[in-house]
Assembly symmetry: C2
Homo-oligomer: 494 residues x 2
């Protein structure tokens, strides 16, 4: 057992009430001041993770923080009883839905550490699985920190003897019954500390450091927390050095850039109408059947549609969604984010649409906007879009780990075909609304998009969430291609 | 059995494919056009409720609508499997969380009618309970319609023989198994129709009319739905006659208006410090115990704090929230609504914070803003705030029917005491942030607020959600008063 992380504390004399009160007043003033600055800036959020051994007084600490801080900017969330809505989604979902928006403080009582540690302590997960969980936690914290969230990770420690003394005192005075956790962990103290050490070691990073707090003396403990929080708030309100706004991406050479992957797509073939009709019918029937089977098996499906403007996303989505019972399928169109969404990490607004077990969710455009339009138009800095490839892969891996089948489509048309469709839309009374100045502007950036796409296909084609590039000059052929790909994918997965 | 609502349809010849296609094209163009106008205006929403007898093809209709409409403005929600998060809240919660925002269309597959009808059909509720449910549904629809939601209530009807024929055909061809609902309702056709007739009669209103659609012929059925929807969309995009912006409320006479109820409050008494400290301690301990008991009994509590500026809401809330385990208590400060909230009925943003069973939620300001600041400042029209008294009572009754204990506090100080506190705040470095121009402006409108308050206490003091007016010139006395009231309320309720 490594002991350097949790040294047995020297026996300090208890901190007196008067000493505590004197420090508390100054601390509280500072905390309130900084909290106000955090809110006024509205740029960053603070996330306090409260964890540690049982009986260390975590609940008391949280109450103290709620007393010290202005309740209007603090949200305390206890993660203890998982609801079925949470159980039926990837583990990370319940945490994402409670993340504090910019300008505010979130206190997580229990966190993404709890379940992995508990499962490992009780040997319900292997060391490899545990390490895998910790690696995903590290990814998650990295992406939150990169987005400006200040992470305050508190670990409350109590030596074995001190814990035992506290439990005995509790039992003797009968102030309250031992919680089920206290009973279960009492006999597993050493294993719990060993596993926790592994967790802390694997996730201690400069952007998300652990603070181990000796919980033996209540007043010292609370003051320590207050000071750590204050230091974090001071960091959070410092003006951020943000990279300058980027110039839009420009293709690197004067010659139109091509994506070798897209260049290899054969756009010429068209098929017989009668054959296509029969295949379309068969694939739709199969999809209907498979979606019910997926529901029985409690497996969800997430389908992403990206593609050139006028490539036929809408038509393809309609062919998919209308083949599935309306009760099982939901289409999420991605437009401009709302202000609640803007106040969170850019992945937050996709997390909120992750379906419960057994449903199909279709995204009409998606999280790839980060590395497509935002990159091309210079809305994301180079650092932001460059790290996004990892972040998107992390997100999709989390979905897959939650049992969700992920399939991504890129609907590909040639520039000539797009032009033909634009002109057709402009001259049709019914379709006019489908074409606007933005489409023409995007078209002028075709080469930049090809560059961005080449990176996307190279970096985000993971087995858990493959890309299917659909030749879509032939609209009906493209729809059949989409449907048959989905049918194949679901057949393999179910 | 009343038959006029569901007449047996004359045997019309089936509508041909070509006839259908001809009508469909024109209809679809119109639907898309109007849908776009609806979105562009962003003022009203459309809610389609799909209900009716089993095997009438409701799922087919919903798929057809999804095919006809632009998916980017439609959200289809099937209410079939209630999650535990839904079961643990008032019934209306699951519907509120899925209401379409302004500018969009919601399709509810199953609705607030389903459960009351099913329970009554299977005699799990009495006629009185059923009538009570229907009355609350009528309230709900009235308040949605008043807010600009266009309600399209579709009831798909199939005669007993037609249903039987369809079920037999299904069984014979084995295209799919009968759903559990089809099996259960098959033998109860007549009772189902009788109960449904009662439901339709009780909730048929000019602002929320029922459309009974004969589902015998699929194509006629779908065209009928399309036409009803189109007519509703046309109504929804007509320019609304909104009342002119109101002038701020002004007290009716030159003499400062007084609320007789507030005038009767004795603000003079103050208590001994030692006695108060002991009572505070005892009440906090009792509250801690009661909140655990409430959690065991799965009862939630909603506490509303309203009061004059500087009356000590923050301090009182802190004394309450810190007495309860942080895992059980949440404080919701009500500030300006977000844009997602503004796109919904004003009660929506309170519904989203309704707790799961067993928790305490404290609202720091509340839905009474509608009949306080919004009325006084002229932000709500007279029609809006006048009908709000009913709407607020409906909301609180729904909470109470869901098993939630509701307690409302008004913290009352005299105008002189408020002035003293304002001046104290202005001269204190730590408290300066608590006072701003808005507070002085509100103070100047004291008489208007008294008028509004008199109406509030008169109209919204319902047994399910009583007001407690707390004399708060003496801060510590007020805190004890709040705590002891809560303790009494919880003791009675648990």
């Amino acid at each position: 057992m490594r002991t350097e992380r949790f040294p047995e504390s020297p026996e300090l004399p208890k901190l007196g009430k008067a000493e505590f009160a004197a420090e508390e007043i100054a601390l509280r003033e500072q905390l309130l001041l900084r909290q106000r600055e955090l809110r006024a800036a509205g740029a960053r959020s603070l996330l306090v993770i409260v964890s540690g051994v049982e009986s260390a007084g975590k609940s008391e600490v949280v109450n103290r923080l709620n007393e010290w801080l202005d309740a209007r900017g603090v949200r305390t969330v206890a993660f203890w009883d998982e609801s079925d809505e949470e159980r039926e989604r990837p583990r990370a979902w319940r945490f994402w839905r409670e993340l504090p928006p910019r300008g505010s403080i979130g206190i997580f009582f229990g966190s993404w550490y709890t379940q992995p540690i508990v499962e490992r302590v009780f040997r319900r997960s292997s060391r490899e699985e545990f390490d895998g969980e910790l690696a995903e936690i590290a990814s998650l914290e990295r992406l939150l920190a990169a987005d400006g969230t200040v992470l305050v990770k508190l670990w409350f420690h109590l030596g074995e003897k001190a814990q035992e003394r506290r439990l005995e005192r509790l039992a003797r005075h009968g102030a309250r019954a031992l919680t089920p956790w206290e009973k279960r962990f009492r006999s597993r103290y050493r294993r719990f500390v060993r596993i926790s050490t592994q967790a802390l070691d694997a996730t201690d990073a400069s952007h998300a450091p652990w603070h181990v707090i000796d919980a033996a003396d209540r007043r010292r403990r609370d003051l320590a927390v207050g000071k750590i929080l204050l230091a974090a708030l001071e960091r959070a309100v410092q003006p951020q050095e943000r990279e300058p706004q980027m110039a839009p991406l420009a293709a690197r050479s004067a010659a139109p850039a091509r994506s070798p992957i897209l260049a290899a797509v054969d756009l010429s073939s068209t098929r017989e109408g009668a054959e296509l009709r029969e295949r379309l019918r068969a694939a739709r029937a199969a999809l209907d059947r498979l979606s019910w089977k997926a529901r029985e098996q409690r497996r969800s499906t997430v389908v992403v549609f990206e593609g050139w403007d006028a490539a036929g996303k809408g038509g393809a989505i309609r062919r998919v969604s209308s083949a599935i019972d309306a009760r099982l399928c939901r289409v999420i169109p991605i437009a401009a984010p709302t202000d609640e969404e803007r106040a969170q990490h850019y992945l937050w607004r996709f997390w909120r649409h992750v379906p419960r077990a057994g449903y199909v969710t279709i995204f009409d455009r998606s999280w790839y906007g980060r590395v497509l339009v935002e990159r091309v138009e210079g809305l994301a800095t180079e650092a932001e879009w460059a790290r996004a490839f990892d972040e998107l892969a992390h997100f999709e891996r989390e979905l897959a780990r939650g049992g969700i089948i992920v399939q991504k489509f890129w609907l590909h048309v040639s520039a000539d075909e797009q032009l033909r469709r634009f002109e057709g839309r402009a001259s049709s009374a019914v379709k006019q609304y489908k074409i606007g100045p933005e489409d023409w502007r995007n078209r002028a950036r075709w080469a930049d998009y090809e560059l961005a796409l080449q990176d996307i296909f190279t970096h985000t084609s993971i087995p858990e969430a493959p890309w299917e590039i659909v030749p879509a000059n032939d609209k009906r052929g493209a729809r059949v291609h989409v449907l048959e790909t989905l049918v194949r994918r679901l057949t393999e997965a179910l």
